[in-house]
Symmetry: none
Subunit: 253 residues, 2 copies
DNA sequence: CGAGTCTGTTGCAGTGTGTGCAACGTCCAT
DNA sequence: ATGGACGTTGCACACACTGCAACAGACTCG
C-alpha cells in the first residue's frame, strides 16, 4: 500500500475528533511539519479538509458531499426510508436501517424517536457486532465458514451482564436468529435499552439489510416492545418485496 | 502538493458517480492498472472505498461515518464569532447569535454595543419566542406541523402594544418571515428597542442559527436600523457558507 | 475440451516524488 | 528589543511510487 496516501488518510479520523493545527497533526502522524503541511494542502485542494479562521484544520465540505452521494447510491436506503418513517409514525420509537460491509455493521439510516428519552446513535457509525440485533441478523446470513471465522476473530466485550460472552454463545445465537428470522437485543449493549430487528432480503433471499426498533426501558418494557414484532416484520417484508422488484411502492392508479 | 495523494483522492468523486472496476479507475486517472490497484488498496484499508461482490469498487462506509462525525463537531459559534465582531466593529450595535433547542431559542453568543445605552441580554438566556426577531426566523423553519403545534402551546404575553397577540397572528408572521428570509422586532419586547435578524443556514438549507443587530430608539431609529439589513444578511450568508464548508474563512495568500 | 481473452495480481528496476532539514517570515507575549 | 511559537519555503538526498512485463484465474467461444 502507499505510504503517502496512508498518512494522508490517517489525518481524516484525527480531524474528526476535533480541529487541530499543523503541529498537532504532524506530531500525531509522526512526521515532520513540512510533510504534514503538504499532505494537508493536498487534502485541502480536494476539499476534504477546511481551514478555519484560526488556521486550524477541520474536516471539509467535500467529504460531507461525497458521503451524501455515497448514501444516495445505496438504493436500499432510498426504498426503505419511507417505510422507516411510517413505522416511526405508528410506534414512535427510534427506527434504524443497517447493512454489513467489510466485517462491520453500520447504520445507514435512522428515524429519531418521538419520545424525549432517546438512545444515542449515529448514521455511519459501526455497530457493536456481538450484541446488536441488526448485527445478529446480518451476520447470521453469512456463509457458515465465514461466520465461524469472523466469530473467532471478534472480541466479546461485556457491555452488560446480558452481553454475548464468547464465540460459541454467539454462534448459537446466530443459529437461532437464522432459524427464527428475527433478532432481539435485550439490554445487551446498554442496560436500559431493548431492540428488535427484522431482515430485508433481496430477490435471491440473501439478507441485504436489517431494520430495527429500539426503545429504552423507561418508555416501554421489553414485552411491550416485542408486541411490535409483527408490524416490524411486515414492514421489513414490504421493503424486501420492493427491493427485489416483486412489488412497487404505490400501485399505478 | 502530493501527486500520490492527489491521485488517490481523485478516485473518490469518480466512484461517487457509481461503482467502477479497476480498469475504469486506472483509465480515468491516466495511470497504470497496478498503480490504481495500490491506491485503491490503500483507500480500502481506510474504509474509504468498498469492494462489492462483483469486485467493483464503491464509496465506503467510513466516509459516511467521518462526514457524520464532522457535522456533529461543527461549532457555529466558533465560526460565527469573528463575523459578529466584524459586524459590531462596522455598525457599533449589539450583535447576537441564537439557536433553537428543545422548544427554546437561546442566545449563544453576543458582542456588546459600543454605545453607552445598551439592551440587556445574557448568553444562554431563553429568548421571548413570540416577539424576538431571531426566534421568528428559527421557528419559521420548523416543519409545518411542529410549527403549528408549538404555536398552539405558547403563551402570548403582551410585553408592549406591538407584541404578537395570539397564535394566528404569530403563524402569519412566521409565514412572512419564512418568505422574505429575514425578520424584525420593532418594539415588540421592549418599547424602545428594535431588532433585525437574518438566518444562518447549513449545507442542507435548514436554518441552524440566527444572528441579529439590536439597538434602542435613542441611538438609531427603526428606519436607520433597517438600512443595516443588507450588511447583516451578507454577514449571515458568509457564516452559512463557512459553516456548510462551501467557503473558507481566509484563503492562504 | 483447449485456445483465446478478459480480468486482477505480483516482482522488479529506475527515477521521479516525497521526505526531513534548516533557514526564514510573522505574530504575539514578555 | 528579544525570545518563542507557529506556518512556510528551497533544497539535496534517498526511498517510495511508478510502469512494465509476466503470471494467475475466470469466462467464452469454436
Amino acid at each position: 500500500m502507499s505510504q503517502t496516501v496512508d498518512r494522508a488518510l490517517s489525518i481524516l479520523p484525527l480531524l474528526a475528533e476535533g480541529p487541530a493545527d499543523l503541529g498537532q497533526v504532524a506530531e500525531r502522524l509522526g512526521v515532520h511539519k513540512s510533510t504534514a503541511l503538504r499532505l494537508l494542502r493536498t487534502l485541502h485542494e480536494h476539499g476534504m479538509v477546511y481551514r478555519q479562521s484560526d488556521q486550524r484544520y477541520r474536516l471539509g465540505a467535500r467529504l460531507i458531499a461525497l458521503a451524501q452521494e455515497a448514501m444516495e447510491n445505496l438504493d436500499i436506503r432510498e426504498i426503505a426510508h419511507p417505510h422507516l418513517v411510517r413505522l416511526n409514525e405508528s410506534c414512535g420509537h427510534t427506527v434504524h436501517l443497517a447493512v454489513y460491509e467489510d466485517d462491520e455493521v453500520l447504520y445507514i439510516d435512522k428515524v429519531e424517536s418521538r419520545y424525549p428519552v432517546r438512545m444515542y446513535s449515529r448514521i455511519g457509525k459501526p455497530v457493536a457486532l456481538t450484541v446488536a440485533a441488526v448485527a445478529k441478523l446480518l451476520l447470521a446470513d453469512l456463509p457458515e465458514a465465514e461466520r465461524r471465522a469472523l466469530a473467532g476473530t471478534l472480541e466479546y466485550p461485556l457491555y452488560t451482564a446480558r452481553s454475548t460472552p464468547d464465540a460459541p454463545a454467539f454462534l448459537e445465537e446466530l443459529a437461532r436468529v437464522r432459524e427464527q428470522g428475527w433478532a432481539v437485543d435485550l439490554g445487551g449493549h446498554e442496560e436500559s435499552i431493548n431492540c428488535i430487528a427484522a431482515p430485508v432480503r433481496g430477490a435471491d433471499g440473501r439478507v441485504v439489510a436489517a431494520m430495527s426498533v429500539s426503545a429504552p426501558n423507561v418508555v416501554v418494557t421489553a414485552e411491550e416492545l416485542l408486541t411490535l414484532l409483527p408490524q416490524l416484520r411486515r414492514t421489513a417484508d414490504a421493503v424486501s418485496g420492493e427491493y427485489s422488484g416483486r412489488t412497487t411502492a404505490k400501485e399505478p392508479a
